[in-house]
Symmetry: C2
Subunit: 482 residues, 2 copies
């Protein structure tokens, strides 16, 4: 441990249960590297509090002794946001033991959930009372509420329910000076100055530690209808999406993928089969749901809408899943794309968004531009059309050396893609955040107005730069302890 | 003008059209006092730019010359938020001439609207393309988009569509150093660091000047059903609200009022009549709407729900407006309460919110507590039950001297009410903001964590305290110009 870390442990030892303070390297090791093994850091100290009061005590002491804290939930960041710095001087602040669901009110549609509660557990508990928490993503078995809040997580249901920002009704957090901000009360109207809850959502732990959140629940799904559609181009898909949205508030997902993504899945993922018999350049996966007291079945809506779209030629072909098993099979195709594309070779992957109206053109033109600029590459986007959010992958030329291409070519490709995104008025980070990975691109591509505001906010709320330093926005190194 | 103001005018005069710089006291006078005549200030200078570039030039020069700016739209603040300080040293920055609707895309449901556009005008323009902007309030003929954004305005449709925070998809603003923040692109997913748009919404012009917003539009209402219901108590009203919300996504308003509010209207507002024949202690006004392509008429939903509620005794009586004229008559009762209660004598009025589940109990218990603590007063709440937001009025004892009571007793009553609100986990400002009026109560009742965070943010983004100083959060007086 560093001298600062030793002083911090000395300060805390008398006040916190021994189990909170972890210095055994073997116990810490799994949390020093991100889940994909791309970011490596070091921390000689891990703190695992079980209450908000313990978190407050830790943060206050860490501020006094200038020990940086790296808040960590399920360690599922896609951008190195929860990996400690390499110098070993920080302490990991694990929220996993703060895992109580403090309350759940089905009638009000609200739950107060601690930061360490795992997303899948919240799903399960909500289901026991006929409700659901309408946000899901691949890492649901590990990702925690605190991390989901701090990264303003998205997923596959944003189209209808929004990101975490739309699902958080209140927050409790420990600010960088150790004070507790109690904003858990779910108030639909509250105009008492700057909205600290909104500032902490997506703050990536750099402005404080989220310790609990009041989240919205909605009635459980009683019926869903999943359809697979073949289309000529993304513009037709957007038109179809708009029609669906006008017809029903129950449109939960509208995922778009090109033929080559489907082909990659069929080739590399055992047990998958094409939903439609013919070949189509583009495909959409649509899910419409209804709660148990809905007055119209989603199947009727989907049949009506697809019938009309087939009749007027907007879609080339369509099929409705005849069973839950078939619906799951459709979804498995969508969820296997990343895995299938990994099997086809190395790729530069981008989590980007542009205004929804601009997305059809962007998908076509950006892919063409990439392939022209980097001969031999293949570029395509797939994902959440309804959110203006695609995962835009540029695959290496056939025969490229994996390690060399990813190290030397991929970053150039990424800058090229990011420039296209900015030109289209979009965001270089749609749902994954900035973390360490996009720090340089954020700096390169943001207006001076945005960057100076981000720095001013960070410096004002965390003057000693102890909260997750080196993530989201870079500041000058911290000064010596006073 | 002050020497600083003279220097500012000198700096701007060569660069801006003469019409932008207003120094004629007669032209400025109407904007020195708020619309209700409760707050009086003085400004020897008013600046009325017509473009974002002009706003940026003004803010940069004002920062350089340390002239505080008071942004003003329709001057309809309820809390003195747009009234200049009394010392005359500030300049009013009027956004009213920035009144272009830059674009409107009905298909995407988005409009880019400049700060000075009046709410009623946006309503009218949206209607021409079959859309609507789903936020309305009494001051719609004067209130501007910039002011609505800066105060996170609410109104009567928050139940379904949320406050301005839920309707703003992007913002353009000039930050306190004169830099332009261009965040107009409507991105459903955008995780590029702290959300500046969210920080400016509800910032009351203290962190920068909103110059334009991208706002969401929804399909125009094709059919509405308005019902009036007699109930035993607020708890029954909440149960009914929950049932309606489960049955339909089209519940737009659910307003609750006690018998005495209805009685005051019937007594003092000519042409009003009771919707129900019998007497009931509480009343609810419910509106359900549908767009033109909805698959079920709102009338069927309302009839079904009220039929069930009458059958099981949840409501005592109910009637559905048989015509648009009758629907308007029901709404006129609700909208006349404040005027009617003014006719009954002076009152201390409070715009407060508590968690919705807590509202029924709060309305009963807070009224009883006030009447016990201040003998002779009559207390009651009415308003947006579905938002947890009531206007809680405590009326002076019969025969009280109006001026004396409002000056001496009302502030004591307000502190008492605010204490009850805080004890119930609520907000002392639900939809009107802080402005000048609630500065002291915000300070008195907020946690040190909240206050220090608000101050740190303000000082960081506006280090010279030139943006609407003395509103929302008090800072130390500004220093001399450098």
């Amino acid at each position: 441990m560093t001298p600062d870390q030793i002083r911090l442990v000395d300060a805390l030892a008398g006040h916190l249960p021994a189990r909170v303070i972890v210095t055994d390297p073997a116990e810490i090791a799994p949390w020093e590297t991100d889940w994909r093994g791309r970011w490596h850091g070091h921390a000689a100290l891990l703190l695992a509090p079980t209450s908000t009061a313990e978190v407050a005590a830790i943060v206050a002491a860490a501020a006094a002794h200038r020990v940086p804290l790296v808040p960590q939930g399920g360690n599922t960041s896609m951008v190195g946001g929860a990996t400690p710095p390499a110098d070993g001087g920080a302490a990991i602040l694990s929220l996993r033991r703060m895992n109580a669901i403090r309350s759940l009110d089905a009638e009000a549609g609200l739950a107060v959930v601690e930061a360490g509660v795992i997303l899948a557990e919240l799903h399960a508990v909500a289901a026991t009372v006929g409700m659901r928490f309408p946000l899901s993503l691949g890492a649901k078995g590990s990702a925690t509420i605190g991390g989901l809040v701090s990264t303003n997580a998205g997923g596959t249901q944003v189209l209808r329910f929004g990101t975490m920002r739309g699902l958080v009704a209140g927050l409790e957090a420990v600010l960088p000076d150790g004070q507790i901000h109690d904003g858990l009360a779910a108030l639909k109207k509250d105009n008492r100055g700057y909205d600290l809850t909104q500032l902490l959502i997506g703050g990536e732990g750099t402005l404080g530690v989220v310790t609990a959140a009041t989240v919205r629940l909605v009635p459980a799904v009683a019926a869903r209808t999943v359809a697979w559609v073949g289309l000529a181009d993304p513009a037709a898909a957007l038109t179809l999406l708009r029609r669906f949205q006008r017809a029903s508030e129950g449109v939960e997902s509208f995922e778009l993928l090109p033929a080559e993504s489907l082909d990659a899945v069929l080739r590399h993922i055992p047990g998958t089969r094409a939903p439609l018999s013919g070949a189509h350049p583009w495909h959409a996966l649509i899910e419409v749901t209804a709660a148990h007291d809905a007055r119209e079945a989603p199947a009727a809506i989907v049949e009506h809408m697809l019938g009309a779209a087939l009749a007027d030629g907007l879609v080339a072909d369509a099929t409705i899943a005849a069973s839950e098993a078939q619906a799951d099979a459709f979804w498995r195709i969508r969820e296997s794309i990343s895995e299938a594309e990994r099997a086809t070779g190395p790729a530069a992957q981008h989590d980007i968004s542009v205004p929804i109206e601009a997305m059809p053109r962007f998908m076509i033109e950006a892919a063409a531009a990439c392939e022209a600029r980097f001969p031999g590459t293949r570029a395509s986007g797939f994902g959440h059309l309804g959110d203006g959010n695609v995962h835009f992958h540029v695959r290496a030329p056939a025969g490229a050396d994996r390690t060399r291409w990813l190290a030397q070519e991929a970053p150039v490709v990424t800058q090229f893609v990011d420039d296209l995104v900015v030109a289209a008025g979009g965001s270089i980070s749609a749902e994954h955040g900035i973390g360490q990975m996009k720090l340089g691109e954020l700096e390169r591509l943001s207006s001076p107005a945005r960057m100076s505001a981000l720095r001013a906010i960070k410096a004002a709320l965390d003057p000693h730069n102890i909260m997750n330093p080196g993530k989201l926005v870079a500041l000058a190194p911290r000064g010596p302890a006073e």
